[in-house]
Structure formats: C-alpha cells, structure tokens
Amino acid sequence: MGMTIAEKIIARAAKASEAHAGNIYVVELDHLMSNDGTTHLTIDMYNKLKNKQIYDKSKLVWIVDHNVPCDSPKTAASQKKMRDFAKENGITFHEGDGICHELMIEKYINPKELIFGADSHTCSYGELGAFGTGVGCTDYLYAMVTGKSWVLCPETLRFNFTGALQNGATARDLILTIIGRIGANGANYKAMEFAGPGMKNLTMSDRICICNLCVEAGAKTALMEVDDIAKAYLKEHGREAADGFVSDEDAVFEKVYDIDLSEIVPVVAKPHFVDNVSPVSEVEDVKINEAFLGSCNNGRIEDLRLGASIIKGKKVAEGVRFLVSPASRDVYDRAMAEGIIETFMDAGAIVVNPNCSVCWGSCQGVIGEGEVLISTGTRNFKGRAGDKNSFVYLGSAATVTASAIAGKIARADKV
Amino acid sequence: MASFTGKVFILGDDIDTDIIIPTEYLALKTIEDMRPYGFYPLRPELPSLIKPGDIIVAGNNFGCGSSREQAPEVIKALGVSCVIAKSFARIFYRNSINNGLLLIENSDIQDKIKEGDELTVNPGQDLVLNGESYKIGSLPENLMDILKEGGLVNAMKKRNGVI
C-alpha cells in the first residue's frame, strides 16, 4: 500500500517499514525546538522530575525570539531561566539571531526529519521535506527526556499546483486563498502536501510562507517534495543536498485540490479570522494606523525586496507607523548589503531588530483601541496585536507596503 | 497657609523620579492609576501606608532625574501634605510648586526624626518635633503667588478669564 510523504517520515521515525494514517506510532525526534514563549514552563516541569536527564542535548535548539529585546522584568526572568539552563546543559542557544522557524530552516532542518517545536508554526519545515509540528510543553518535555514521543499519523490533503503566480499575487495570497477556501479547521490533524508542476515556479521563500501558514487551517504539518530548488537552498546554507520523500503513486490522499496559480489574486484575511479572506479590491479604503512587514511568514529577504521595490522613492503615509522586522540576522545582513534597509529607513519606516515583533503582539508595535494594523504576520485573532478592540488584516508584503504608503489598505499596483 | 500635623515617612538622599514613579507606569491613563506604583522600586508598600496629611522627610536632592510631572502629582495623590528635604532637584521643585505640592527645605530635623513620628508644620515659620522648633524659610513671592492660586493651571485660568 502506497504512502504519503507524511506517512513515510513517520515510518522512518518509528523505524517501521510502513506507517499509515489513523495509526499511532512511537517515534524518535530529530530536532526539538523551543522558544521563549514557553521554555521557562518546560524548565519548571523538568525541575520537578525525579530523574532529571536530557536524552540527547544535540537535538535541542532553544531560541529567544518572542520578546527580543525584553520589555518587562517578567519576560527578562523567563529568558534568564532559559539562558541559564541552556548554558548549564550545553543546549544550542540563540538569542537575538532571529525568529525560531527562520533559524531552524536556515541552519538545522534536513529532509525526512521529524521535528517537534513548542510553537504552532513549527509546520514551517515542509519545504525541506521535513515533518515539523507544534506541541505543548508537556509533550516537549517528554520528548526532551526520552528522545521519543507518539504521533497519530495524519491523513493528507494534497494540493496540486499548476501554472505560475501573476497579477501581483504572491505565495502569501495563495496560502491565504487556500485557507479561505478550506476554512480555519479545514485541515485539522491533517498534513497538507503541496506538489504539481506549479511548484517549480515557487521560490524557497514562497514555499516557507505556504508551509508556515498551514497551521491556520488546523494542519498538523505541511510537506513538499525536495526538488532542485530545495536542494540548492540546502547547499547554499551549508548542508547536504539530501533527497526527501515523494508520495507514492498509489498513496491515499483524503482529498486532492487542483489549484491554478495564475488564478490567484491579492487577498487579505479580515479581522478576526485567518479564513475570513477577501480580495484586496474589496477592502480598499480601510484606513490603517500601522503596517507590519516581517514574521516567520513573510520576513525573508524576498519579502523585504518586494516591499522595498514598492516603497523606493516614496514615503510612509503621515501618521502611519510602518514596522519592518527582518526574520533573521542573515536576512538583515543581506538587506543592508542590498540597500533595502536604507530604502525603508528613507521612506520613514521603523526598522526593528529581527524578532517576532508585532506578529506576536506583546512588546513591539502594539496597537491601541480601535486601531487597524495590516500585517504580514501569521494571525489576526481578536486582540492579537494589542488592544482587544483593535483590528488586524493579513496581507502580502506587497499589499502591506502599498498600504503603508497609501495610509489605507491598497493594492501594490495602485500606489 | 494654615498649620498642620502629620505622621512622618523617612526616605534617604537622591530619591529620584524613577523611584517616585517608574517610567513603566507613565503611560497609565490617570494619576489615580499610577498612585499604587508610587515609590515602587524602593518601597512598594508606601502607597498602602501613607494616609492623607502624612509627611515625607528626606535627605539631599529629592526628586532628581526626569522632568516627569507625574512625580509630584503622584506624591500629592498619595495624600502627602508636604515633602521636607535637605535639598530638592530643580525641575521637581518647579513641578511641585506648579501643582500646589508644598516643599520645605530643611537640614536640621533629619537626624532627630524617625519614621512614624508626628510632625507639625507651620508654613513659612517652623517645624515642631517633640516640642522642639526648627526654623524654615518662606518661598519667593512669585512662587507664593502660584501656590496661592492653587497651582499654575489655576493661575493661567485666571489670566485667561476662565475662572
């Protein structure tokens, strides 16, 4: 019986010859990522254990990215706990280097791997043919101590792409459109697999963007085949251009969607749900107070380039706050080298350090009562970016930048 | 200005404006919201202990640091009737006068007084502690005028004919 990519990765991690959707497997994890959102809680639980041990510290990567730099003594205390523990136990540790998922993709993930991350957007690693999934502290702790966990092997929704994005549409518009179509729980517990001839027209950055957002449809993970584009990325980032898995021809998919990329148009997700998707043309003229370009979804060099190409020589609308946060130190470095940082600064943007920033809504660029934010972040839940009575629209780097210039939601071809 | 008596709280030298009200709380909407955080870094219990009419006695350079006017306003909101210190920082001094908070410069009582003592203040004349009198000065005329009006806002209101 044929297997999907998800099933093959689970089988490998379970050291089984086959794995199939609906069954539970005991698996060995390849990486365990945790960030400052919850690591302090994991440490508290760990410290209560009778037999304190870490199964294999080389599998752990801890990343401080949510409140960087710290905004309160409370976050400083939880980060200190994390830093001290990492130091004491020799755990790979990043602080201020960028957003966890971006760093994992840039530095650590390999094809066929199974990764637990104590963050919901851990599903971001599918473009490298790796199965990443978000877990809570308890699951994380168990895996940290034993090296193992259990996984319910997911059904797979298969998305076949044909054609290429055009008309100013980006990968961000594509995945928002898909989530709008299948709904915020349309892929609950499931894997979303993306394939088809259209894949060759999507860059690695596009693919990361697509995989990253799948949790917003409820997906357990997102997966893609490791083609030459993915292998080139691995090589460029100092890793072996290893093969990934491909779903068998007779693999069982719960559902197959055929999507012609050329039909995608610029969209936004309106408050307060990611699946509340409309074409940008339907929400033009919504006045904004703030725009945000960044996050693990849309903070890569390609996104910044796109934004910079739109804003070059123009200015941020008076009274609008335009925050730009590169997703990692490397992204910042490249953006500086390419003159992109200066372009944003000259336009009046607020370029902040690489971190989760207002996507996480806790300490940087928080919005106030009644205010409107258009963001390339991952979520637009009520109150996500600040006051409980504030409004977040999700759009592409192009739409966000255009909106920052216009002072209202706008399509990039209109500014 | 009439005489009054209050219970004394003792603070040291260089009580800065970040101690009086930390920056973290400056964006709270009202002085009333900030009140519970008065003296937070140094003595967080003070807002719950200070009763209306109580007096703060401190050392040198009281109110040094920032120009934040919330500092005298929070002290006033706590019910403090006056601050007696060996010396005051300049901006704090102006801000206090402008908000009608009485400040008295005196270097004689600090060694004699302890927390909880009762102190009587006869403005412009003296302080009375355990029956002993300690002379104090009076304010320059232009400042007394502002104090008499109940602060700068009222003085300006009068100027603009809104009261």
């Binding site: 730099p69 309160s72 200190k80 370029v351 | 970040d18 901006i91």
Partner: protein, 414 residues
C-alpha cells in the same frame, strides 16, 4: 561688565545687558520640545488653562521617541493625541519615528547657538553642546509657555569647569563628564549653570560636547554650556558671531565655583549601581560579570559613539550568553551607520540592532533586565529600577568601555 555664558545668552534673549545671576526674568523661548510621554498631558493642560492657540506654531516641536515602537496597549493613545493636537494647532514640526528628541533638536537645527529652548524632558540640557540655553520643565509649565510664549526663570549662578590638555587614548568625553559629576555629586550643580572651557573642549567634536551637556542634569544643573566655535557654527548652520548667538569666552564672569582639570589625568570610569555620582575607575572594577550591554541614548547613541564601539567589535563576537543592544539615536545616524559598514560589524558581532529611539534608557522596553542581572550602558541614568527590577545593576560608561565589556563579558575598558 563681565558675564558668564548663561548671562550672555539670557541677556540676548531679554534684550537687557544688566541681567545677572539671581535675577528673575521672563524669557521668550526660541523653541520648545514636547515628547510622546507628555504630549497628552500638555494638550490637556493647555486647554484646561483656557488657551485656544499656541503662541507660535513654528517654535513648537513634537517628537515621539520614548514609546517607539509601542510596547503597551495604551501607548498609541499618546501618538493619536499628539497628532490631534498638532493638527488642531497647525504644528508641522512633528517627528514620529525619527529618533531621540535630544538628538533631533540639535541635528535638525531646531536648537542653535544662543537659543533659549525648553523641553518636557530633563535631558533637554543637551543643547548646551551647541551653546543653547536649554532645560527641562514639566508639562504644566510647557502648557503655559504654549499659551503665553514666555516663562519666568531665575538666572542661574555658574560653575566653571576648565579642562586643558589632551585626553589619553581610550578616554572619552563620557568619562570626563562622569568624573566631573562624581566630583560635584548628584546635587552639586543644582539650580546652577555649568560652563565648560579649555582647549580639551576646543578639540572635542560637537557630538562629544553634546554627550557632556546631556549629563549635566545628573549633577542637578539647570544647563551645561559650551562656547560655540567654528565647529558648532557649521553644525548648526549659522555664522560664527555674537549676533548669531556664538559667544566668545571672555572668562570674566562671576563664578560660584571653578573646577580645574588636566585632561591627561582622566581615566575610563563608570557610574556604579545605583547612583550617577558613584564613580569608579574601570581598572578597579575587575571581576564584574555582565549579562547585557546597551549602546545608545541621547548621551551616547551618535555616529561617533557607534563607530568607536564598532572599531573594537570588528572581527570579534559578543561574549557567549551576553546580549549587546545597539540603539542609534536618530534615523540619519542609523542610515550613516549602515552606509559606513558599522551596522554590519555590529550584526556580525551578534548585536541586537534596534530602531532609533530611547530604547532601554527610558526603561519601558528595549532590553529590560531582571533580578541579579548586570548591564553596562552608555546612557545617562542608573537609578534603582530604571532598567527593570530594583535588583538590576547598572554601570554607566562610555561606548568604548561598553564595547570592550561586551566582548569580554566583564566590565572592561581595554
């Protein structure tokens, strides 16, 4: 009749050559500055006082810097209130994310030699670096000025500080002002003007002078003034003559105190927790392990400061588990630092590079610390609880000391 620099500046403002220390005079400010934390209060008091129109829109500058980007939900209310007030009053000098007020005021020539400037921030004294009389006031007084265009002040007495000679390598103007504050104490210049003179200051850049003027408030001073020279005039875009507020040092004023230093005697120092006047030579601070370094603020966030730190960090990395936070003082400084490769050096060294603004210095975000942590910072205050809990240890030092400390993981000046 002899005069101190502050007397010369005030005489020019009030058109009365007999004004001297101790006199109470009404001055007409050439410029006023209001920042984001206080703008709602100023606007409210202005209306409460019964005023309708500011006396001169062109003389009012509004700057958002303490709360950029907003870290708390209510912060943006300050921006909205400021925008609303600016619109209502026709105020066009408004900077929403361009950097720290005290950098922008001299940089954008809102404060120039001989000016009288008031700001709703204690570090308004900074513009003494370009020979302006500038000082901090509260929001009520600011509201009064906005309505009346004047403020009463008592002409301050002057402490004259003479420094001559060449500063040793690795010693910066920050070390000089910290040392002077240590000698004067935190209240030593209360109500007074500090006046700096001597060839050591002549050799200093405007940037270095701004650093020193900025910190005079930490000795309680009403202002800290430098005589304007060709450098100042060029920086401020004015001719270097008395008509344009560039006064010569006649050294014939009535000084309440004169302090004399030899530049060669200065050493790298730090203000130790938690008093600005608790000054120790860095060489005596041997085994102080640090958790964080902050380079920025209106004291030491200028291009020269970043460059000095970058020279030390070039090709090196911040010590493991130590954070280095760099916050340029203004947008133009940020851009210049990108162009000059300074930001690249910081980024390669592992620094966290923030947007221009007050950052950690004002203690609302930007690198808050917790119990038991120690930070070396280039800003101006190390008050208890200023950067987190009251158990955070703050050492104030120069950008040179900050950079060396970041690499070593200990307080170091070499």
């Amino acid at each position: 009749m002899g005069a101190t620099l502050i007397e010369k500046i005030i005489r020019r403002n009030v058109h009365d050559d007999n004004v001297k220390a101790g006199d109470i005079v009404f001055v007409k400010p050439d410029r006023v500055m209001i920042h984001d934390i206080f703008i709602p209060f100023v606007a409210d008091k202005f209306h409460e006082m019964g005023f309708k129109k500011v006396w001169d829109q062109d003389k009012v500058v509004i700057i958002y810097d303490h709360m950029v980007p907003a870290s708390q939900v209510d912060d943006t209310r300050h921006f909205r209130r400021g925008d609303e007030f600016a619109k209502e009053q026709g105020i066009v000098h408004i900077h929403r994310a361009d950097g720290i007020c005290h950098q922008l005021m001299p940089e954008l020539r809102y404060a120039t030699p001989g000016d009288v400037v008031f700001g709703t921030d204690s570090h308004t004294v900074t513009y003494g670096g370009v020979s302006a009389f500038s000082t901090g006031i509260g929001y009520t007084e600011m509201a009064g000025i906005l309505g009346t265009g004047e403020l009463w002040i008592k002409v301050p007495e002057t402490i004259r500080v003479n420094v001559n000679g060449r500063l040793p390598d690795g010693v910066t103007s920050k070390d000089v002002i910290l040392t002077i504050i240590g000698d004067l104490t935190a209240a030593g210049a209360t109500y007074k003007s500090m006046e700096f003179a001597g060839d050591t200051f002549d050799a200093m850049s405007v940037s270095e002078r701004l650093t020193m003027a900025n910190m005079t408030i930490e000795a309680g001073a009403k202002c800290g003034l430098f005589y304007a020279d060709e450098k100042t005039a060029e920086f401020s875009g004015v001719p270097c003559d008395e008509e344009h507020g560039c006064f010569k040092d006649t050294n014939d004023g009535d000084y309440v105190k004169v302090m004399n230093y030899k530049a060669e005697d200065f050493v790298p120092v730090a203000a130790c927790p938690s008093q600005v006047d608790k000054i120790r030579p860095i060489s005596e601070l041997k085994d102080i392990k640090i958790d964080q370094v902050f380079i920025g603020s209106c004291t030491n966030g200028r291009l020269e400061d970043l460059r000095a730190a970058a020279e030390i960090l070039k090709g090196r990395h911040v010590a493991p588990y130590v954070k280095l936070i760099v916050t340029p003082a203004s947008r133009s400084i940020y851009n210049a630092a990108v162009r000059d490769g300074i930001m690249k050096i910081f980024n390669d060294a592992g620094a966290i590079i923030m947007n221009p603004g007050c950052g950690l210095c004002c203690g609302r975000a930007g690198g808050i610390l917790t119990d038991g942590e120690t930070v070396v910072a280039t800003n101006n205050r190390n008050f208890l609880g200023r950067m987190g809990t009251n158990k955070v240890n703050i050492y104030l030092a120069s950008p040179v000391t900050a950079a060396h400390s970041a690499v070593a993981g200990y307080v170091r000046s070499v």
